[in-house]
């Protein structure tokens, strides 16, 4: 039952340009995360969570999706939104809560959403997005749409009730959903060994009557291939799939966390050898697709884009005070109207 979805993709095969695109997206995410964490330490951004070490899992999985598929992100999929067209300035503005933040400064920083790309707002509460994804996918099925939903999650989410409820519903109703678990070994300070007694996360799918697969989450091509196969299966109406991408959170859980308190430097160094960005770089070089000059140029270009976007975001003012009263009631209630009028 537990199959590995590492067979070559059925329909989409990757060209050189795809490989370079995948690498570029991963590198952008890596550099952006570095810059954003620095801004956080300087007090220019309130909070930030990096995806460092998990770029292949984020980018490789999202690359296999169609533009009208829906993404229900967990906590580290901002790179997928960028790849699907989320403007960098808006991404950074979200972290600053300014007037170019689509959520008008009401969300926690580093918690993105981007409606044009069907990228749903993410929640710090663990696993709540999983039943949402199943519900949305179920609706797509009922309406006869051909698109699907992806529920991203971390390893910690698989211990939540929401995960099990969602898996069960998805299995029973054969909904077009892919459960994509980025098993990065650590749920803040809880190691995967303390998370589950199962031999893997993927194996849990069997209990719910559908396929689970394990993939090397630090190999972007393996992730893409696994996801691409899952997409074919799900679109063919054969029900949900669970993919466990085995990866590693190389940085802290968030800017508020200090992993030195609970894990060893040796462990991090061991995983650094499997750095997904570096692996893809080696792949490109090995195929003769990439030169040192191209690497330097790309880094420079991406860094400049990031710096420009930061500068632009910092020039942007806060959302207007009156917007505080928007978006809850279709028509403002009298006492709120009174409050608004007395303050503005």
């Amino acid at each position: 039952m537990l199959e590995t979805l590492n067979k070559p993709a059925v329909t989409k095969s990757l060209e050189k340009s795809d490989l370079i695109r995948l690498y570029t997206e991963m590198l952008r995410l890596r550099l952006l995360d570095q810059r954003m964490l620095t801004l956080q330490r300087q007090g220019r951004v309130g909070f930030y969570g990096t995806a460092t070490g998990e770029e292949a899992a984020v980018i490789g999985s999202a690359y296999a999706l169609d533009s009208d598929d829906w993404i229900f992100p967990a906590l580290r999929q901002g790179g997928a939104a960028l790849m699907r067209g989320y403007p960098l300035v808006e991404y950074i503005s979200q972290c600053m809560g300014n007037s170019r933040d689509g959520t008008k400064g009401r969300q926690m920083p580093s918690h993105y959403c981007y409606r044009p790309a069907n990228f749903v707002s993410w929640s710090s509460c663990i696993a709540t997005q999983i039943p949402h994804a199943v519900g949305a996918a179920w609706a797509m099925k009922i309406q006869g749409h051909k698109n699907l939903a992806v529920a991203y999650m971390g390893d910690g989410a698989t211990s939540e009730g929401d995960f099990h409820v969602a898996m069960n519903f998805a299995g029973v109703f054969k909904v077009p959903v892919i459960f994509f678990c980025q098993n990065n070994q650590w749920s803040i300070s809880v190691n995967i060994k303390q998370q589950t007694a199962s031999e893997s996360i993927a194996i849990k799918a069997i209990a719910y009557g559908f396929h689970g697969s394990v993939v090397d989450g630090n190999d972007v091509l393996a992730v893409y291939s696994a996801m691409n196969n899952a997409v074919q299966q799900v679109r063919n109406g054969s029900g949900p799939v669970l993919i466990e991408a085995v990866t590693y959170r190389m940085g802290a859980h968030s800017s508020s966390d200090d992993p030195r308190m609970y894990r060893s430097d040796e462990e991090v160094e061991e995983w650094r050898k499997r750095d997904p960005v570096n692996r893809m770089l080696k792949n490109l070089e090995g195929q003769g697709y990439w030169s040192p000059q191209e690497q330097t140029d790309l880094e420079e270009k991406l860094n400049q884009e990031i710096l420009d976007a930061v500068a632009e975001a910092e020039k942007t003012g806060p959302p207007p005070v009156e917007s505080l009263f928007d978006d809850v009631f279709s028509e403002l209630l009298p006492h709120l109207k009174e409050q608004r009028d007395s303050k503005l």
Binding site: T38, Q40, R41, Q42, G43, R44, G46, F47, M96, N98, A252, S255, S256, D257, D258, R260, M261, Y262, S264, A311, E314, K315, G317, P318
Partner: protein, 404 residues
């Protein structure tokens, strides 16, 4: 122009941080993102990079000092007068202004309503305080919980809290050291132990002559393997033998549950003096380690502790603690139990003392051993039996082989 860099909230809702290390000094030139200072909050220790390029004018606060979030950490000459203002993020400037602006002297005179969260308003109501009389020190002049508590302490004559908290002036000839970090933890832990556990201390003298011989003969072989062999691992072995025979000594009391928890594992805490204060490192599963294993483990942990690099894992889970003053000696002590354990042993200097043996006065290597017990769990008789059992192993170390 001088740019004031204020300590940002580097964790979520962190209120202050301790300056661990300055990486810059006044007069030094820095580039954007150069490391400025390492700050420890209750969540994480982080390096703060410079947000600007320029020359350091002033660093505020010594290493070890506490800085409030929002307080100026350092000032930087950015060398650029006009452009700097223009490029400064609007939000940052306005934030800096609000937090720098002193709260108005008298709120009631201006008739302005105080800003506060509902929880603080309710608290003011419960305390019988008119919140509009309180000067807020929070963001944008908000009245905080602390403002109310400070206000509550004033006399009833509606005296406004001064803008700045009055500096506590140290009495002449008295140096004040703030209680924090490890020192504070030790203080809390000791009070808890003395508070919860009725201690009694039992002292005995041990003849270490044979163990001294054994250790001296084994020292060389150990040294060849790069191991510094002290008496401690032998003592640990003897203690483990004692704990196995008297399981109550390797327990803790679950008062709420009305249970004594007997631990079936033997994790020995070892007190290590570090520059910051006493740290107890934990040698896990001491019963399954050889004398040389124990020696290496103690060596590794105490070195890590002294360098402040000990992993959290190595500070947790001890079931019984040994505190050794080593050659510093003293005769005996009354150790405080490492709560929630129920016993601790203090070991003292080994020295030659005259003793009567078979009617003769002879010089022997002797050592005092001070044990404190939690009388709720360990009665005097049990404590004494434990001590004499451990003593038997130390006086006749050949018996230790039975434990190997």
């Amino acid at each position: 122009m001088a740019f004031e860099f204020r300590l940002p909230d580097i964790g979520e809702g962190v209120v202050e941080g301790e300056i661990i290390k300055w990486h810059v000094t006044p007069g030094q030139k820095v580039k954007e993102d150069d490391p400025l200072v390492e700050v420890m909050t209750d969540k994480a220790t982080v390096m703060i990079p410079s947000p600007r390029k320029g020359t350091i004018l002033e660093t505020r606060g010594p290493e070890g000092g506490i800085v409030k979030v929002g307080a100026v950490l350092l000032t930087l000459d950015t060398g650029d007068v006009v452009a700097q203002v223009a490029s400064a993020p609007a939000a940052e400037v306005s934030k800096a202004e609000t937090s720098a602006k002193p709260a108005p002297e008298s709120k009631s005179a201006s008739g302005a309503k105080s800003l506060a969260t509902p929880a603080v308003r309710k608290m003011a109501q419960d305390m019988g305080i008119d919140i509009n009389q309180v000067n807020g020190t929070g963001a944008g002049g908000r009245v905080t919980r602390e403002d109310l508590l400070g206000f509550g302490k004033k006399d009833a004559a509606h005296v406004h809290t001064p803008v700045a908290q009055p500096q506590q002036v140290a009495a002449a000839g008295v140096e004040e050291i703030p209680l924090r970090g490890l020192r504070k933890k030790i203080a809390e832990k000791m009070v808890q132990s003395k508070h919860q556990a009725p201690h009694y201390t039992y002292v005995d003298e041990v003849d270490m002559t044979d163990l001294v011989k054994l250790r001296n003969s084994a020292r060389e072989i150990a040294a060849e393997r790069g191991i510094k062999l002290t008496y401690l691992p032998f003592i640990m072995k003897a203690i483990v033998a004692g704990l196995k025979k008297y399981p109550l000594l390797n327990s803790s009391l679950d008062e709420a549950g009305g249970k004594i928890l007997l631990k079936k594992y033997y994790n020995l805490g070892v007190g290590v003096a570090t520059p910051e204060g006493l740290t107890v490192v934990v040698v896990k599963n001491a019963d399954r380690k050889s004398v040389t294993d124990l020696a290496q483990e103690v060596d590794r942990l105490s070195e890590a502790a002294r360098q402040n690099k000990v992993a959290l894992e190595d500070l947790k889970g001890s079931t019984f603690t040994i505190t050794s003053l080593g050659p510093l000696g003293g005769m005996f002590a009354t150790p405080i139990i490492n709560y929630p354990e129920v016993a601790i042993v203090g070991i003292h200097k080994i020295e030659q003392r005259p003793v009567v043996l078979d009617g003769q006065i002879v010089a022997r290597d002797r050592m005092y051993m001070s044990l404190s017990f939690d009388h709720r769990v360990v009665d005097g008789a049990v404590g004494a039996e434990f001590c004499s059992y451990v003593k038997k192993f130390l006086e006749n170390p050949a018996l230790l082989f039975l434990q190997l």
